[in-house]
């Protein structure tokens, strides 16, 4: 109700409770909205000024500022850190492609009914439970030190080990996201498809999955953003990537500013990606809403 959004004052309250209606209330509604926006803006500005002043005038602020926001350390760190980010980019691009595919496979396998397929459902359930429970550092150590320790493989495969570890871990989470998407598609869709003569798999492929996947794009993006940070796992087996490079700089300068550089790199990468996804989802919703008419 617009009346509720208007500013304080008895007349506003009364109007709000009374509800919408007669023309003589409309001017109040207009000024009420303007007033509330102004109050919101001013109170936000005041709040940040107060908090900012508190922080900047705290006794230890100069040394905290030097530790986290040192200009020279910032400038010196940027080239090294941005170069190291390339390792992470390659890792999460390759891993994400595999994760989206493998996660979907696991989700579909889990949803197939029938007693004959029970072993398949059991295996996939165990896989998902185990890899959601295991800490990532354990997985990377077992894969990164255990596999070469067995003696079959050569050296220099850290990238592959990291992709394998990330894929195993994240497919477990992503398969659950897909499963939620599949479950959220109304059973009437599948029933209608089956009644048209499509087999179970055809119904999945042509009717259920397209709807399911579109619904879960936001949580999938969530997991992708989490994956971008979890590429730090490769540093445990020696590869210098963005977090390790920040740490090396931190130890070299006794300063935390390199981590601020890393944060900015991720922000610059992640925020446009999130907005792009929002645009794509909105466009898709509009299209499907239009089609429904």
């Amino acid at each position: 109700m617009a009346g509720l959004a208007s500013g304080p004052g008895d007349s506003g309250m009364l109007l709000g409770v009374a509800g919408q209606g007669s023309p003589d209330r409309r001017p109040d509604r207009g000024s009420g909205a303007l007033r509330s926006t102004l109050i919101a803006f001013i109170s936000t500005v005041v709040f940040f000024i107060v908090v900012g002043t508190l922080i900047v005038n705290a006794e230890g602020w100069p040394s905290v500022q030097r530790s986290f926001l040192d200009g020279r350390v910032f400038a010196d760190s940027v080239p090294l850190i941005v170069t190291a980010f390339w390792v992470n980019v390659r890792l999460f691009v390759v891993a994400e492609v595999l994760i989206l595919g493998f996660g979907l496979l696991i989700a579909v396998l889990r949803s197939l009914p029938g007693p004959v397929l029970f072993p398949v459902r059991l295996l996939t359930t165990v896989y998902v439970d185990v890899f959601r429970a295991l800490p990532g550092i354990l997985v990377i150590y077992v894969i990164g030190f255990g596999i070469p320790g067995l003696g079959f493989t050569g050296t220099g495969n850290e990238f592959i080990y990291a992709v394998l570890a990330l894929t195993l871990i994240y497919s477990a989470y992503v398969s659950e996201v897909y499963r939620a998407g599949i479950d959220s598609v109304h059973p009437s869709q599948d029933a209608a498809a089956r009644s048209l003569g499509l087999s179970r798999l055809q119904s999945l492929r042509h009717v259920v999955l397209p709807q399911a996947v579109r619904r879960v794009v936001p949580p999938l993006l969530n997991d992708f953003i989490g994956l971008q940070k979890d590429t730090v796992l490769v540093s445990y087996i020696g590869v210098v990537e963005i977090f390790r490079q920040s740490q090396i700089r931190q130890y070299g300068t006794f300063n935390f500013t390199p981590y601020v550089v890393t944060a900015l790199v991720f922000l610059v990468f992640t925020i446009p990606l999130a907005r792009l996804t929002d645009v794509l989802v909105a466009r898709d919703r509009k299209r499907s809403a239009a089609a429904a008419r």
């Binding site: 304080p8 005038n57 705290a58 990164g144 320790g149 445990y236 087996i237």
Partner: protein, 315 residues
């Protein structure tokens, strides 16, 4: 309901304003520093030189009065720290050494320094300090830290580093089966994949002295690097010489010390203290005395006897 919201917002703003006043009031109070008993003692005994009095046990500014608090990392590795008879005390990892044992090069040096300052072994207590925290900025949880801390001018800017109690070189350890094991010069290491712990002078040695063509692998700790060596993910690991001896002879099978790196001047291990600590001068005095009377050399010969036997890799 709206009235309550308004009241709440007003109260919150008032609270924040109150907090602001409180903080600005507190910031004018001076930070407490160690009381100056040294100057009092000096005025009471003017016949004795002030510096000796300042280092008398009762005049030392200690974190825990009456006790000397020494820091080192966990696990505490041999040959710097030996296991204690009857099992290590918590929290020291049971598979490696215990600083409380008094055995092992750095444990022995710490107790020798403590004795020089007038502390009995029972007055010394140990705390766990992760390596990088020992020379990082900020106040410390220890009076001094002993942990194979190589002296670097950058480290000396944020912590006090004493004179050296040990002088040695970085060294290379490789599996005997690796061709790098036969290297006799630093140039022959250029094509190898080397590994080191992050933030150490070992890593600096790779970057500044060896300058390999392949990017070095960096690990959180030496044991992860050791794993990588065992699985042949790296050709060789760079560590200080005593650690190299421990790895080659005890920890890693079929491995050998390729050699010690000639970097010009040998690296020196220092004790670390809070920046501008009043204890630093006293510790330097103690180290000086222990060097002169040969105690430090004796401990090095006892616990680190291999220094002269290891080949030196020159550029």
């Amino acid at each position: 309901m709206r009235g309550t919201l308004r009241l709440g917002a007003l109260a919150l703003t008032a609270l924040i304003a109150l907090a602001a006043c409180g903080t600005s009031g507190a910031s004018s109070a001076p930070t407490a520093s160690a009381a100056p008993p040294a100057s009092v003692a000096a005025s009471e005994a003017p016949s004795v030189a002030p510096s000796v009095d300042a280092c008398a046990r009762e005049n030392l500014a200690l974190i825990a009065p009456g006790k000397l608090t020494v820091g080192t990392d966990n696990p505490a590795y041999p040959p710097y720290f030996a296991p204690k008879d009857g099992g290590n005390t918590a929290p020291w990892d049971p598979a490696q050494g215990d600083p409380n044992s008094g055995k092992g090069f750095e444990s022995a040096v710490a107790y020798a320094v403590a004795k020089q300052l007038g502390f009995a072994p029972t007055d010394v207590s140990w705390v766990v300090v992760p390596f990088a925290n020992s020379f990082a900025p900020g106040p410390k949880t220890f009076d001094f830290d002993i942990n194979q801390i190589g002296f670097k001018p950058e480290r000396a800017q944020t912590a006090d580093l004493t004179d050296g109690y040990y002088f040695g070189n970085q060294s290379i350890v490789a599996l005997k089966s690796n061709p790098v094991a036969k290297a006799t010069t630093i140039a022959e290491l250029a094509n190898a994949t080397l590994g080191a712990q992050v933030g150490t002078t070992s890593y600096d040695a790779i970057v500044n002295t060896i300058k390999p063509t392949k990017e070095a692998k960096v690990f959180d700790s030496n044991d992860a690097a050791i794993q990588a060596l065992k699985t042949k993910a790296i050709d060789a690991i760079v560590v200080d010489l005593p650690t190299a001896d421990f790895l080659a002879n005890v920890e890693i099978e079929n491995s050998t010390i390729v050699g010690q790196l000639d970097q010009g001047t040998p690296e020196r291990f220092s004790l670390a203290l809070t920046k501008d600590s009043k204890l630093t001068a006293c510790l330097n005095q103690a180290i000086g005395a222990l060097t002169t009377d040969g105690t430090l050399k004796g401990l090095a010969d006892q616990y680190l006897p291999f220094t002269t036997g290891t080949p030196v890799l020159k550029p």
